[in-house]
Every structure is written in C-alpha cells, then in structure tokens.
Amino acid sequence: MNNDLKIVWEVTKWEFNRFFKWMDLIKGLLFFMFFGLIGGVIGYWLASDTFTPPDIAVANYGLFDPSSFEHSDLNFIDHTATDPDTLGQKLTQGTISAILTIHSADDASIRVPSDRAWIFILEQFLNELRRDEKIAGSGVDPEWISALQAGIGLSREFDKAGTSAAADKIVAGIAIFLVLMAVFMGFAYQFTAITAEKQQRITEQVISAIRPQAWIDGKILGISGIGMIYILFYGSMGIAGAFLLMQFGIPIGSALTQINPVFLITFILIVLLGILMWNSFYAAIAATIDDPNTSQKTGWMTMPIYPVMLAFFVLINPDSVPITVLGIIPFTSYAVLPARMVMTHVAWWEPVLAILLLMITVHLFRIAAGRIFSTAIMMVGKEPGLKEMLYWFRRV
C-alpha cells in the first residue's frame, strides 16, 4: 500500500476506534427498546381503556327515543327513575362512568369524574341523533339528505410518470433522518477529536510525523465511518423489526418489495456523500476552534438542518425551478433531491449531476479542510476569523 494511503488508513482506524464503542451502540438500542416497550404498554393500556364501553347513566332522554340509545362503544343505562343524589353517589363510587342529561334537542350535559376520550364519540352520537330527529320532523326525504351530504370522488392522475409508491416515501424519510443523525454525530465527534487534540497538546507531535492532509483525511473517514456504522446498525434493526412485524401478519413484505432499487441506490450514495461532505466541513471548522467552551463558531453546527427545512418546500411544488436547482446543488441536494424523487418525476441526469457535484464538493472540502487544518491547528490562544477562513478556502 502507498505510504500516504497507509497513514490515512492508520488515522482512520485510530479515530474510528477512539470514538466507536459497541457497548454504547448496544446500550443505545436497549434504551430505545426499553422506552419503546414502555410506550407500547402505556399505549395498549390506554387503548384498552378507551374501548371498554363506559356505563353512561341517562338521567333524562329529553325529546329523544330511549330505544335509539344504542352504540357499540358506549353502554347507556336507563336511570330516569333514579333520584339525582343516588346517581351522584353511584358516580362517586365508580359503579357508573357518567351521568348524561338531555335538556332539549339542542342542549345536553355530561357529568364525569374527569375528562374522557369517549366523550368525543358520545358527542358525535348525539349529533347524529339530533340530525335524524330534525330530518324526521321536517318531512324531507332522508335519501335526498344523504345524497346532499355525499362528497365528490376525486381521483389523482399524474402526468409526470414515476411518482413513487408510499414505500419509497418512507425510505426517503428514513434516509434523510439517518443522514442527519450521522451528520450531527460527526459534528460532535469532529469537534471533540480536534479541539481535544489541540487542548491536550497532541497536535505538534502528530503534525511532525504526517502531512496535515493525511491526518484530516483519516479523521474525516474514521468519524464518517462511525456515522455509517450507526446507519447500518439502525437500518438493520429496522429491517429486523419489519420481518418481526411480518410474523404477526402485518403486510410489510409487500411494501418492501415496492421499493424502487434505483431510489435505494441513489439514496445510499447521497447519504454517504452527504456525510463525507459535512464531516469535511466540520473538520475545517473544528480546526479553527481554540476553546470549544468559549468559541463563537459552535453556531455552525446548525448548518445541515437548513437544507432539510428547504426540503419541506418540495411539498408545496416539487417541480418549481428553485426546488429543482436546490435538488442539484451540493449543500442542499442531500435533503431536497430524495424528497423530490418521491414527490415527482426527476430526469435521469438530475441525480447523476447531483451525485457528481457532491463528489467534487467532498474532494474540494477535504482539501480546504486540510489547508485550514494545517494552518489553524497550531494556533493556540486565538482563532482565525471568517476573513482568514475564506482566504484559505479561496486558495483551494
């Protein structure tokens, strides 16, 4: 192996092993599973509570026919003969869930210990009763009313072929989420790796042994590698989860087979290049930071979130010229292009051009990062300003 490549590989391994810990990954997964389980149990318990029909004591039916008080999710009990004090005691004791009093066709009240989700169902039920009552009283044909209330059946036909299946949309959403996770993880590790080396005075020894470019290349690759491992890990967990759901009869398998392989490959490439690009960017910024506790440059960490915000504009009009351009230029393409690809037809050259530009940007960023790193890494006690950083970028 070429000596430079060998050194880059050594640094890559070192930086990867410095921050990547299997136990942390497993602990994270266990926490995720633990809280998922708690959420599931709470959700199940709440759901089961919702669908246990409440015993609603009806104190007064008003003008409504008592025989029409039938509902699968609500259990109505006739208590018109019970005096209000006794009903109140029953409610306090918990033998009934609520007391319903209908004063007129337009006015009713419900007394419950506290707010309940099923009150919404009761309200809908009473509204229907009231509507039926009003229709019956007016002598209008109920079928005519039904025809009046029916909506128009608008089916969607898209001129631009290639609009994706729901499965692709899910993949795009997951891809954007994972790349963001990896990018922010990269940010945290790059900052720790580089600023700690400066503060622990390791820099001078290493910089005398290897070229700054080889050092920064190894850092970018090693720390990007951690983000990629996390993506791979959580991606695998997702697939494992999908197969688990299939065992319970949930039709995930058919959804998975709908994923367009071209989409998948494009997303993977964009994810990899997006991670490398932002890691190069962060390495350059981190090299200019003298003390992370006081530096003003930590605000740069929000940068990758803006392209994701722009991706939401795709929902308004995925075919507009600004959105098409944002889907190609490197800073925004990693978020906007996947969103466009699932919302509309994208010409074949757009992802090709976007990927090509991302590759060029990654290359230029790593050289710029190397230049900034080699100059700024030895600066202790002061930080280069934006003007100096732009000067180094221009030199690339």
């Binding site: 000596n3 060998k6 050194i7 050594e10 640094v11 070192w14 410095r18 080396e197 622990q200 005075r201 390791i202 001078e204 020894q205 290493v206 910089i207 005398s208 042994a209 290897i210 030895m378």
Partner: protein
Amino acid sequence: MLTFSNVTKQYSKVTAVNHLSFSIQKGEIFALLGPNGAGKTTSVRMIMQIIEPDSGKIRFDPGLITGKGVDRRLLGYLPEERGLYQESPILKTLVYLAALRGKEPGWARKEAIKWLERFGLKERMNDKISALSKGNQQKVQFISSILHEPDFVVLDEPFSGFDPINQEFISDCIRELRQSGMTILLSAHQMQLVERIADRILLISDGKELVSGTLEEIRQTIISGQKIVVKYEGDVNSGQLGAIQGISGYQVIGEGEWEVYLNEGVVLNGILSGLALAGTINDLKTAETNLHEIFIHSFKNRGHVDE
C-alpha cells in the same frame, strides 16, 4: 545530518530566528541552548517541517530525503509542548504513533513493550494515559519519540517533569541512542546534564548565534580566562572586587564564598593583591567554568536571563 543556512523566521512584529546558521553532524548530540524566547522552539519547528522559514535554507542529509522531500519516518520529535491521548491505553497509543512513522503494528508493539519494561511501565501498558502520573506520562512521551528508531531525533526539554534519578536515567538513554548511531538535537535547561552528554553546543539569543562549539571551545570564547573560587573570613568588600583590573565578573556562591572570572592572559599575581584587599582570604583555588556558569555569564550581561 542537517545544515541550517542563514535561516530567518518572523512572526508579525517579532523576529524569532534571525539569519541563523549551524550544522549538526551525523551521530552527535547537538545541544541548542538559549534563554526563553531565544528562538529555539521556532528553529526546532522549522527542522520538523511544522513551519517554513521566511528565508534561508534547511538542508537534510541525503539519507533523510525521499522523492517527496524529508522522510518523516526517519525523524523523531519530542516537542516542548506535549501531550498524549488521555483516554487511550498506553500501549495502543505508542503503537499508533509508531505506525504514523511507518512502523508495522506488530513490530511497534514488541518494541514498545521492551521500552515500557525498561521504564518500569510494562505492568501498566493497558492502563489509560490519564491514569499515569505526570512523570510517567513524560516517560511514555519520550518512548513515543524514539520508538520507531529514527535516524535523527529532536528532544525539546527531555528532562522536564523528571526527578533527578529519572533525569539521569533519561540522560543514559540519550547517550545509548547516540551510541546506536542516532543523531540527536537536544534543547534543555538542565545544564549539568547537557554538558555531560552534548558533543557540541549552540547558544542562541534573540534568534541569533551567540557562540557554538564544544564545551571547551565555548569556555574559551565566553569565559576565556580562569575561574578563581575564593573563601573569605568575615566581611567582604564587594566594591573592591569590582575594582580589580583583569576580571570579567564575580558572584557570591555561598557564605563568604565568591567566584571570580578572569580575562584571558591576565597574570594571577595582579589579581591576588586585589582579592586580598576585599577581605581576609581563608581559602583560594582555581576551577573550570561549567555550562551553567557560561550560560548565566553569557546572558546576564545581555539583561535577559530567565531560566
């Protein structure tokens, strides 16, 4: 091994190195000395390719050059400002730093264990660096600079942070490395150690050469004459000592004990009468000036001794 020709380096308003020239011979221990701010670290950083000179040339032995310039694998460096990956295990750190200098991890591991054993740290090789005392961290740092068996090594303050016993031990190690053929550039403030191990010495001040050569040559240049150690009984009239013709300086070194430096070629008879006028002489002997005295003597007159 290395030639520094008319090298200058300027930092905004400060000229750290000013037309400095010297050469280091293969297989020698060359000591670079000077007060703080003299330009030692800047010179060392230029040698280690960390910064570039503004003008002048630094030439390396052809054996240290590859197609792309100086082969960094053949250089070793113990910087003055040093540190290690605090959260990493000792052995792994040493193997990594040797790998950066081109050594195979298997070989580096074997050699690192040998050195750690010699420094009494073998049992702790899997401990994190942060678990070590400052002195032991310095030992690991020293090992990291020579583990890859460089042809040329720069040791900037190798004795700092060590107790006298370990200073002697490091001093022995440096001598051994020279014996094995390594060329060493040494920068240190422990003069008694430097004068015992350095083959040649360069004293610099304000980025310029003050004097260079072997210790004997420097003695001749800086303090060309002899040194007399006089022990007085009772009070000493120091004004009378200052009035003696033919001396370059004097200083008190103990209770009633004074050192007097003579100019070259001065006849001792003329001095002795002056010494007697300053007080009652109890004892008197001639002695050789050591490096510490040369250092102090050289820089005191220039008004910036801050060792």
